[in-house]
Assembly symmetry: C2
Homo-oligomer: 550 residues x 2
């Protein structure tokens, strides 16, 4: 006891504070966070519940956990262990979910690859990520075979279904040889690397964002709370799992003990059928998925009694799409994030003043990127000129920056890109936005998507939003076209609705003139299908090239 | 590059693995977990939403956050800082919620005290915990004044309302002087102590369970996922917040951006009125709360359209209560936990085979303690004889043991009790249970003879000690007697001293009232020889049977 701290609680041993004495971490009260725990707990808590549905297949949580342990055991038998890279090239099949738990069980790193990429890019990722194993689903076999032939080092191939790849080990044989009671231990350090996700860079080689066990665990819980996943939820996989590890939903669904329904190919008839048959309550997707659902032919539609929460990310949903989705029984929730943020980082949470808004105004609010997820520490909008937050006035434009435990560790083997992305204690998204008084952010454009015409900044998104209101337009993309007079001018690429006749370019221009400042009106209007990635993102760089060549 | 690791991803600098190179924690991607972050985020994400309702008072999340920062700032102005203890003696008022965020903002330790205890026990806790400040709500002023008079050291008193305690600083004056933009920093280490909760021990003095910032953050998310709290939820405070920090629900509600409704006194009419007026969706409580609701007079009842999820803990709900609650529009969820586990550790999750059960069998299943919460690592039932898990056969009895990040750091200043409670990598609950094949645990007996009356733990040993002080009593044994109102009530069996005339039961009860909290006083007193083993140990199981049969 000292004179200044006379009470019992202030007299720790060796001068240490009582609250820091004999209150240490022990195996009873401290376990490094890992998403694998969520599966072990789900198997213990809900072993008899259905974890995964894939066509006629059903896996209970007990079965899923046993299969994951078998897979981990089988891979361990081939020498795979801590920090070894296991790549996977597969559509949304149960094995994709299994890999998201089995590989981390070994302390190995899962590298989900985009199945729509070209063989050379896949080969680059395999080599750069140091893949020792590649899990290949039959549908991806030709792509995998070509990529593997370009790889300098031999990679063990595990075949999900019939791949015809010489030397491949059948996935089910690997599991059959594996131990369903495989004793896994979580990472000693929850910061340990867990997943490797390559982003399609706009310039140069893809960058490999690295996730940690800690980040994935927290993002899983944050997703579950934000999206309202519970043990009664049924989650439909309309989002590719290779995209940011399915926005971390393989882990989030398991955290909630929900049921996941696999879907290989995103088609409206299949989506409606699964919603009606299995009581789907949640799905995620790019705007193209919503567009597909909203514009589904009547023959593909099925009625369903439940409310389906539909989270959309990648670009803001248009008012037309939101309205149609709501009429069909969906509740649209706009999320925003990046590969670098384990998927969703912000959510467009309904605000109290929405109740007083007109329908159009409410839809406009719903298209904002919104506010931080429960597990994200902070969002800000930083003025690039001053490196200070912009005013929350809905007009000053700055870069959206994110901070928290659900931000990537960095880019693998790329310290310069990492330092740039995480400069000054924030992840710099590269997205330009305004900050509204209610705290929500609203993207005005990707930094590279701003069109500068006659010295005026034009937000391509703003022009697109107007174009989408044209009754004949299903999808709109606006890019800069070099202009001898103005430097750049807006060039619009439009997809018309099925069964609708394309309007004339002049008709579209007149439509725009009544609805935006003169300098923002597209000078060029082109009709035809838009180039898209699998995740439904419009490939603006392709359109930019086209516009340049006009 | 080494020969065995020829790929780019395997050639880290200085021989380190690429997945451990240039991928360090930075302020952008790593923030120590603290429940304070949840409030900062809620204020950023839902500043305009109602966070707290108390009678006619409304606090938005922006206002709640500002008031918490003012309180932190005000306390800092009185020299309160890292690891200083701030005690609070209050019913369920908004200030109780504020303290759960403001005190941790300072890195100080919040010590919520049980308002039903006697002054001597309160004084013990204040001294043992080293309280530097005591926040006192007007209703608790007499208790606080008596306790303070027994404290050897001066403690700064902050008065919530009119307490009449000399020298007390008015709470609102402290806030008025505080800075609503007070710049708080989270703990440098998320293991830092956050809360101190005294449990009524079975022997000797109360033990102070210590929580960490990490544990509270994770328990908040686990609660939200398990209970299905979302931004649309309305949580009614029918559980005392001084119990395990309200089972961590002050933090869980904020994690979900839900609305919390304060309630000072648990009365059926008020509960029904608030449910109907505010669209309450969730509430928690001891069985006495459910009993009160289920048996409410018709005049106190109000109809409401929503389904209200009602989590019950402390003792298993009876089938009669569950049936009545379901008829009234409630959905009952049985939780189990302890002060040492931040409140709920297990949840009685519905299992698929319940669908085939009769109503009575289903109610029996709902009374089980259940399976681990999302954020608890593991539950087991350990045979004390072998220290190995018992068979999952529903018959073998062992001790329920818990493990994970939501287990306390230990007991303050009590390394022996800590070592015993956390022995062998598990928190030993002292509760005896069977383990069912579906993974759920079911309590058969309480190893420590705890009586749970109206949600309050009563140590039979503590009551026995007082009884033994009665001049006529030679031996005393206290066991639980089933009580229709309180769940259980203490029942005392007494052997009088030879040659002494037995006092009246009423005489004994009056004797106890002067020496213990009201709820601990035996409701039944029986005289006669006590059944003993050959070695002279009182056979409590015999007495329990007798008490049941009265």
């Amino acid at each position: 006891m000292t004179e200044s701290h006379p009470r019992p609680a202030r007299s720790g041993a060796a001068g240490r504070h009582p609250f820091e004495t004999d209150l240490d971490r022990t195996p009873a009260n401290h376990v490094p966070l890992t998403p694998v725990s969520l599966l072990a707990r789900a198997a213990a808590a809900a072993g008899g519940r259905i974890a995964v549905i894939d066509g006629a297949r059903r896996l209970t949580y007990a079965e899923l956990y046993a299969r994951c342990r078998r897979l981990a055991s089988g891979l361990a038998g081939h020498g795979i262990g801590r920090l070894d890279t296991v790549a996977i090239l597969a559509p949304n099949v149960p094995e994709m979910i299994e890999a998201h738990f089995a590989v981390p069980m070994l302390g190995a790193v899962l590298n989900p690859l985009n199945t729509r990429l070209d063989p050379a890019t896949i080969a680059f990722s395999l080599a750069h990520g140091g893949a020792r194993v590649l899990l290949v689903e039959a549908d991806c076999a030709p792509l995998a075979a070509q990529a593997l032939s370009a790889c300098p080092e031999p990679i063990l191939v595990v075949a999900i279904g019939e791949t015809g790849i010489p030397g491949a080990i059948p996935y089910e044989a690997l599991l059959a040889a594996g131990d369903p009671d495989h004793a896994w231990t979580g990472p000693a350090d929850e910061w340990q690397s867990l997943c490797l996700l390559y982003t399609s860079g706009t310039t140069g080689d893809p960058k490999g964002a690295v996730y940690s066990h800690r980040g994935a665990y927290l993002q899983a819980l944050g997703n579950a709370v934000t999206f309202g996943l519970t043990a009664d939820s049924v989650y439909l996989w309309t989002l590719p799992m290779f995209h940011c590890s399915g926005w971390s939903y393989p882990w989030a669904s398991v955290a909630a003990c929900a049921t996941q329904i696999c879907l290989r190919k995103v088609e409206p008839a299949a989506i409606f059928r699964l919603i009606a048959e299995h009581g789907v309550t949640h799905l995620c997707g790019a705007p193209i998925v919503l567009s597909m659902i909203a514009h589904a032919p009547a023959a593909d539609r099925r009625a369903f009694p439940q409310r389906v929460r539909c989270a959309v990310g990648g670009a803001a949903p248009s008012s037309t799409i939101i309205r149609t989705m709501e009429e069909l029984g969906f509740e649209v929730l706009h999320l925003y994030g990046a590969t670098e943020s384990y998927g969703p980082a912000t959510v467009c949470l309904a605000q109290p003043d929405w109740a007083d808004l007109s329908e159009d105004d409410r839809y406009a609010r719903m298209a904002r990127q919104g506010v931080p997820l429960a597990t994200l520490e902070d969002v800000t909008v930083i003025d690039p000129a001053t490196d200070r937050p912009v005013q929350r006035d809905g007009t000053a434009v700055g870069e959206i920056c994110l901070r928290g435990n659900t931000i990537m560790k960095g880019y693998l083997g790329n310290p310069d890109a990492t330092a740039q992305a995480l400069a000054g204690g924030w992840y710099r998204t590269g997205d330009l936005a305004v900050w509204h008084p209610d705290g929500s952010v609203e993207i005005k454009d990707r930094a590279k998507d701003i069109i500068i015409s006659g010295g005026e900044n034009i937000s391509s998104l703003e022009v697109e939003e107007v174009l989408m209101r044209h009754p004949a337009v299903m999808l709109a993309a606006v890019v800069a076209r070099p202009d001898p007079t103005w430097g750049e001018s807006p060039c619009a690429f439009l997809e018309v609705k099925p069964g609708t006749e394309a309007p004339s370019a002049q008709d579209v221009i007149v439509f725009c003139r009544g609805r935006m400042a003169r300098f923002k009106v597209p000078k060029t209007v082109v009709f035809g299908p838009l180039p898209k990635t699998l995740t439904g993102k419009i490939q603006k760089f392709v359109l930019r090239d086209r516009a340049r060549d006009f």
